[in-house]
Symmetry: C2
Subunit: 212 residues, 2 copies
C-alpha cells in the first residue's frame, strides 16, 4: 500500500489526519503540487483526474477520493472507530461529510481557484485548462460565510459535528476550517463561539497536533 | 421512517432507484420543488439547506444527502448488496460516487442553474439568493463533456462503473446521465459506445423500468 500525499492541500490532509488518528504507518510518497507533479503522465496513470490523495493497493488498484480511502482503511483497521459505530451514526458522518464538502470546501475552493495568480488558466483541478471567473470567487465568499454559520448552529446543538463524539466529520470540518483561514484571510471562528470551542478542541488532540 | 422525495430531481431520484432496487416500500412524501415547498419554514426545520432527499427517522432525526440515506437503508436491509461486498469494492463505490458527483453532477447543475429562467436569482440550491453566472454555465458544459469522456474510458475497462457488477455507483451514473440528457439537450451516449451499452443495460433493469 502506498499513499500519494501533499499535506498542505486540504483533500490529502483529511487522509493524513485520519491515518494519524488511527495510529497507522502508511508508506507515503509526496506529490509536489507546486511543481505540478500531479499532472505528469506517470501520475495520471494512477489518477487521470490529476489530484491527490491516491492510495495505491498492492494489487495495483488506485483508490482516489478521501472518503473512499478512509473507508478502506477503516475496514482494515476498525479501531478507533471514526466512520460511525452504528447505522445512524455512520449515516450522520456521511451526511456531514457531504454537507461540508458541497457547501464549504467547494465554496472556499471557488475563492482560491478563481482569484490566486498561481491558478490562472487552472481554475478547476486537473489537466484541462479553465479560465478564472471572478464572479464565482465572490459567490464562494458568500457561500463560505453561510456554511460557517450553519456549522456554528450545528455546534450549538452537538458537541462534535456528526455526533457527540469525535468522528471523520470533525477531521473534514477541521481541514476545511484551516483551508478557509488560509484562503479567506480571516478566521471564521472569530465571531462564532461554538466554532471556536470546537476548533480549539480538535487542534489540541494529540494525533492532530502530532500531524502538524 | 418517511422519505421526502421529488422524483424528477436527480438527488432524490438516486434514493428512489436505490429503494426500488432493494425492493423496499418506504412511506414517501412528495415535496413539490416547482411550488418551492422545500423553502417553506416547516420543511427547513427538517433540512435547513432546503433540499431533497430527506429521510426522517422515527426518532425525529432527519438524514439528508443521498449517499447517507442509501447507506442507512443498506445497513437495515443488507441484501441485495449495492454499496460493495468487501473493503475494496466498497471503496470503489464511494470513489465513483464522489468522482461522478464532483465532476459530473456539479458540472451539469452549473449549466442548469446558471442558464434556466426558473433559477434566476436561485443559481445555488437553498434559501439564499445567488445571481446566475453565464461563464459558469459555459465551463459546466465543457466539464460535463470531459466527465462523460472519463466514464466512456472507464466503461471500456469495466462492465459496470465501480465493479464488474451493478452497484450504487451505476445508479448515480444513470441518474446523472438522464440529468445531462434533459439539461444539455444532447445524448452523451450518441458518440460513446461504451456509455450506450451500459446505459441501455441499466435502463432495462426491472427495478429501474418499474421506477419510471
Amino acid at each position: 500500500m502506498k499513499f500519494y500525499d501533499f499535506p498542505a492541500a486540504p483533500s490529502p490532509r483529511k487522509v493524513g489526519l485520519f491515518v494519524a488518528e488511527k495510529g497507522l504507518q502508511v508508506p507515503t510518497v509526496t506529490v509536489d503540487l507546486r511543481a505540478r507533479a500531479q499532472l505528469q503522465p506517470q501520475f495520471l496513470t494512477k489518477n487521470p483526474a490529476g489530484t491527490v490523495p491516491v492510495l495505491e493497493l498492492d494489487d495495483g488498484t488506485c483508490l482516489t477520493e478521501s472518503l473512499a480511502i478512509c473507508h478502506y482503511l477503516e475496514q482494515l483497521h476498525p479501531e478507533p472507530n471514526l466512520l460511525g459505530a452504528d447505522a445512524k451514526e455512520q449515516a450522520l458522518v456521511l451526511m456531514w461529510n457531504d454537507i461540508q464538502t458541497l457547501e464549504g470546501y467547494t465554496a472556499i475552493q471557488d475563492v482560491l481557484r478563481n482569484t490566486h495568480a498561481v491558478f490562472k488558466d487552472r481554475a478547476v483541478p486537473g489537466p484541462t485548462p479553465y479560465e478564472q471567473i471572478a464572479a464565482l470567487a465572490d459567490r464562494g465568499r458568500q457561500q463560505a460565510e453561510a456554511f460557517f454559520d450553519r456549522l456554528e448552529t450545528r455546534l450549538g446543538h452537538s458537541r462534535f459535528i456528526a455526533s457527540e463524539r469525535f468522528t471523520y466529520a470533525d477531521i473534514v470540518g477541521f481541514v476545511y476550517f484551516g483551508f478557509a483561514i488560509r484562503t479567506l484571510a480571516s478566521d471564521p471562528s472569530a465571531a462564532r463561539p461554538n466554532l471556536k470551542r470546537w476548533s480549539e478542541g480538535i487542534a489540541a488532540r494529540p494525533a492532530i497536533k502530532g500531524a502538524g
